[in-house]
């Protein structure tokens, strides 16, 4: 459920208050951008699709149920937008050149291990972007959006067994890619 302050903002947005929507965008743009980035693997495209997602969300705001949290609704909209974009436009996507410096500092890790951890995460991002679109989308929905198999099938408009197969293959492929990466660095 949207927290009370947000609830007030959303009521204003539903009445057409764009300034209120600006506050919502600032709160959620980073998480939406990350969804787009994980699925698309390209920063510029991810920024474009993040903008497009917020534009669509504004026009579809009447469909958003205030009794539910906005984040998952918004991220699902963005994920579907990216997925359909990939299906529609097969671009020669250029992976991000070097995301190491842009990975946010994580307080869980000490400064001495930061570089190594960044390389590890960079390898994981690269591995995710190597996967076929459907497998990447399945991973996004399951691991980052917490969908059930049934919800994934509905979101991807595919039979449940097909979606499960994409998810399993994606994980398997990811494990293999990371194994290879690990072997290289040894």
């Amino acid at each position: 459920m949207a927290v009370s302050g947000e609830r007030v903002l959303f009521k204003k947005v539903k009445k057409g208050d764009l300034d209120a929507y600006g506050v919502i965008i600032q709160d959620y743009q980073s998480s939406v951008f990350n969804v787009c980035c994980r699925i698309l693997g390209n920063r510029q495209e991810a920024e474009d699709l993040t903008q497009e997602a917020f534009l669509r969300a504004y026009h579809q705001i009447s469909r958003y149920d205030l009794s539910r949290p906005f984040g998952p609704w918004m991220r699902t909209l963005a994920a579907n937008l990216c997925y359909n974009h990939l299906k529609r436009v097969r671009l020669n996507r250029v992976p991000l050149e070097d995301e190491r410096d842009t990975i946010k500092d994580d307080p869980k890790y000490g400064p001495e291990g930061a570089l190594e951890i960044d390389q590890e995460h960079k390898a994981l991002y690269q591995a995710i972007w190597t996967l076929p679109d459907t497998q990447r989308m399945a991973l996004e929905l399951r691991h980052f959006q917490g969908y059930t198999y049934q919800e994934m099938a509905e979101a991807m408009n595919l039979p449940l067994n097909t979606v499960r197969s994409h998810l399993y293959r994606g994980r398997q492929k990811l494990a293999e890619l990371l194994e290879e990466e690990y072997e290289k660095t040894r």
Binding site: L18, D19, Y21, G22, I25, Q26, Q29, S30, S31, F33, N34, C37, R43, E47, D48, T50, Q51, E52, F54, L55, Y58, H59, E99, T102, I103, K104, D106, K108, E120, H121, L124, Y125, L139, R142, H143, F144, Y149, R164, L167, Y168, R171, Q172, L174, A175, L178, E179
Partner: protein, 195 residues
């Protein structure tokens, strides 16, 4: 180590990690895992993938997108209203052309004759309007025949006795449907600048 001829399929291991195995399958998998090192290693690799995905740090968005999104939304609102009114005016204009101007031009050919005969202005206007009406009716009769002819050539039985309706009702209905369709299209899929 006790050897097991049949290892757990990869799919079952993933379903196990997702927590979606039913009670009896779960029991079988756990019993097998207790006894099979190879399957435990396979499980451990998968668990590592799960953990790494869970701990994947967020990428930083380097710029605030809200300004450009809001600018675009403000522009869209203006654009949508502008387009709606343009379409309404276009529909009205088209209706006027169809309903009035075509017969009016035909009737205008009579004007020099009326002026030449030095008729009074009021009488000239009356004659002009009468001519306009009759010209319009002739024009409509021709149109009706054409519509009927076209309809019959496409359908063996006429699906709609379109020629029985008043022409004004048809024009208004067409205009109304046009405006309604435009409104629905603009509302559900607003036209905006493509990225």
């Amino acid at each position: 180590m006790k050897k097991h001829a049949k290892h757990i399929p990869g799919d079952d291991l993933q379903t196990y990690l997702d927590g979606n195995l039913d009670q009896s399958a779960l029991h079988n998998v756990e019993r097998h895992l207790d006894q099979c090192t190879a399957c435990r290693e396979k499980l451990s690799r998968l668990e590592s993938v799960f953990a790494r995905l869970e701990n994947l740090p967020a990428l930083e968005l380097k710029k605030d997108l809200s300004t450009s999104i809001l600018a675009q939304l403000r522009n869209d609102t203006k654009l949508s209203l502008g387009i709606t009114w343009t379409l309404v005016l276009e529909a009205l204009g088209a209706g006027t052309v169809i309903g009035f101007l075509i017969p009016a031009f035909r009737t205008a050919a009579w004007l020099p004759v009326l002026i030449d005969t030095q008729t009074e202005i009021r009488a000239a206007i009356n004659i002009f309007l009468t001519q306009l009406a009759s010209s319009w009716l002739v024009w409509w009769a021709v149109l009706r025949l054409n519509i009927e002819h076209t309809t019959k050539s496409f359908f063996t039985t006429p699906i709609l006795p379109i020629s029985n309706f008043s022409p004004w009702i048809l024009i208004l209905a067409a205009g109304g449907i046009g405006v309604l369709v435009n409104y629905i299209l603009l509302r559900s899929n607003p036209i905006r600048r493509q990225n």
